[in-house]
Symmetry: C2
Subunit: 380 residues, 2 copies
């Protein structure tokens, strides 16, 4: 990797917080399923400083609907301001006084990185469904070029949860020589049939919305109802029966005026859990691109760390960095037993692997909620 730390001023855009969103554009990226995509822009944020050796970098990789804003320097103690806010900063597991922390929006995303809503230079129109299928491996190879551009020679750590965890695992397997430690949170070697099924139900809900229009909706006029429904379902899979029972049980809705995704009146009394899901659906529909949702969720489904290798063992044997796997007791999308099994496989194959389980009722989302347990696990 070559050192190119200095970024042109025009690449810098002020965020609402004190953090800056940078972009870097690659002319072209070869894709796992064939062909090239270019130009490819990655939007990213950084915290802390890279040392002269270029070996104190940490890459943070985000989940399906996440973005580069993993930390907020202006409000570093508010978990709502940035998705791993409390884990990043001086003295925290991703210690910005010692490390150069980077988080980029994934390829295929809609927070500044090239995705289906980006303008295709050949047609001057959004790619929509002409955007190629991108994979977790493609996301990671784009990140690698970005890090090279930033002067990073070695990653001290790469860490993420959910599809961020898939990316972390993929980093360790694809670029074993570049990573000292991978931290795979609530992710497995490949999704279960059940998780793929939930994922496809969400995608079909998006595509049945007449506003989707074969993917060719105008910006801001996308299938908000379909995307809301997909999000409602996803939110159920990110939680757990236990957590939803503690929080909602069979409470009647406090807010009966909140519109439903389909804008239909309630058939009968409304439960609080329904109101909550309408709110979550609408929130995502306002901030996220439906086509990005289709592509990134498909990348999640397609991910199989063994792809291109003779076996899963052959893939995992490549992992030579330290590996920390964090499972969540109540996660049913990426079950803890499967995360533990993966950690054990790596150890059996001679890898340096540790497994920690979060004892949380919060399901898959626990990696975005259990700050104390996450901090303890990351400090192991």
């Amino acid at each position: 990797m070559v050192a190119q730390r200095e970024l042109p001023v025009e690449e810098r855009k002020q965020l609402t917080s004190a953090d800056q969103l940078f972009t870097y554009t690659l002319d072209s990226l070869p894709l796992q399923h064939g062909g090239q995509l270019g130009p490819v822009t990655l939007a990213y944020e950084t915290w802390g400083s890279l040392n002269a050796q270029g070996d104190n970098a940490i890459l943070i990789t985000h989940a399906l609907t996440g973005n580069s804003h993993a930390h907020d320097v202006q409000y570093p103690d508010d978990p709502k301001r940035a998705w791993w806010n409390l884990l990043i900063g001086p003295g925290r597991p991703f210690d910005t006084s010692r490390y150069f922390v980077v988080c980029s929006n994934v390829l295929g995303g809609c927070y500044g990185s090239t995705g289906p809503s980006s303008i295709d230079p050949t047609t001057k129109e959004p790619y929509s469904l002409r955007f190629p299928v991108v994979t977790i491996r493609d996301m990671v190879s784009a990140q690698r070029v970005l890090l090279e551009h930033l002067g990073v020679r070695q990653l001290a750590m790469v860490a993420g949860g959910s599809i961020g965890g898939q990316q972390a695992l993929e980093w360790g397997v694809t670029y074993p020589e570049l990573v000292q430690k991978v931290i795979v949170v609530a992710a497995t070697a490949a999704l279960t049939a059940q998780a793929i099924a939930f994922s496809e139900v969400g995608r079909q809900a998006i595509m049945v919305d007449p506003l989707w229009q074969g993917g060719n909706y105008a910006p801001g006029h996308g299938p908000a109802a379909g995307l809301s429904i997909a999000r409602m379902l996803a939110m159920v899979t990110y939680q757990s029966e236990e957590a939803m029972e503690m929080r909602f049980a069979r409470q009647q809705a406090r807010n009966k005026a909140l519109p439903t995704p389909s804008r239909t009146a309630d058939l009968a009394e409304r439960f609080e859990v329904e109101s909550y899901l309408y709110y979550q659906g609408e929130s995502l529909a306002k901030r996220f691109d439906a086509n990005s949702y289709l592509y990134i969720s498909k990348a999640m489904d397609l991910y199989d760390v063994s792809e291109g290798y003779s076996s899963l063992e052959a893939a995992l044997r490549r992992l030579r960095s330290k590996a920390l796997f964090i499972g969540i007791r109540s996660d049913f999308l990426f079950p803890a037993a499967r995360v533990r099994w993966l950690a054990e496989q790596v150890r059996t194959l001679g890898g340096n692997s540790t497994y920690v389980e979060l004892d949380s009722p919060h399901g898959h989302d626990a990696f975005l909620k259990e700050w104390g347990q996450m901090t303890d696990a990351l400090n192991m």
Copy 2:
């Protein structure tokens, strides 16, 4: 109850099998949430003969998308011909050589009983969303009038799974003096927040389909895509991670030509589990009315056996029949632990209650698959 066994010939309609579908029409049914509905027709089938005392009847209650065809006399050994086929017949748990077995399509359904697709006599058009909210208790009170019409004075058993199980429980609590034994399979006192959430995602998918048209679609031109998506999701919740992994894992689809509900092309490779769900979705959309799906699924969500009583204990204390509760180890829609808890509550309150758990990987649907274990449990 009065004896009125003889049915007018015009009420009889030949089924494709040797079984006959009968109908009985009530002038009016008072509803739990107020008001009256009338006329109310119930479609039903019977097997075996009612004795002179009118006390050897068994009522079988069906699940969400089920119907009265629980048994098929022409093909009594084919589980695909009728939903509880192998449990009904001479020498079987619901022994037609000793008992008079009745199964009726639920109020709100679309297999001959009055539901939202029926003609509203005041407007001469289908009720659609002008159909009133009906509850499990309403379904049961309609069944009670039907049984009275048939001359049944005592039910030897009432048995059902899923919302059929809710109906069985409701029978025991509402009409304790009329039932000798209730058999509640894969059902609980009330749905969890998670189950309500899945249910509402399905309903929203139906209502976002432009063909739904506020419920006013023409017969045969309903929201097939939306109903397919709702069914896809429901099918996931009726199975289990374990069962889906055994059956599908990450196999590629054999049939890549099967259309998706939204009639869109595949974004990338198709998994077998996706093909399977498309097929299941389309099958239901061809045979079931979308508005019936909305109303019956809502009845399932609304069901709480304690409604109208001072407490759950007060409701369960009314249960004086023998009660058999059957849970399923891998059921996550009606978790076994909650079925067991309900059985224990009944026993604690002085009831005669037994709990049996099916050791099956097939999730909620095990009550429609595990014939050996079901037979053993029912014969206890």
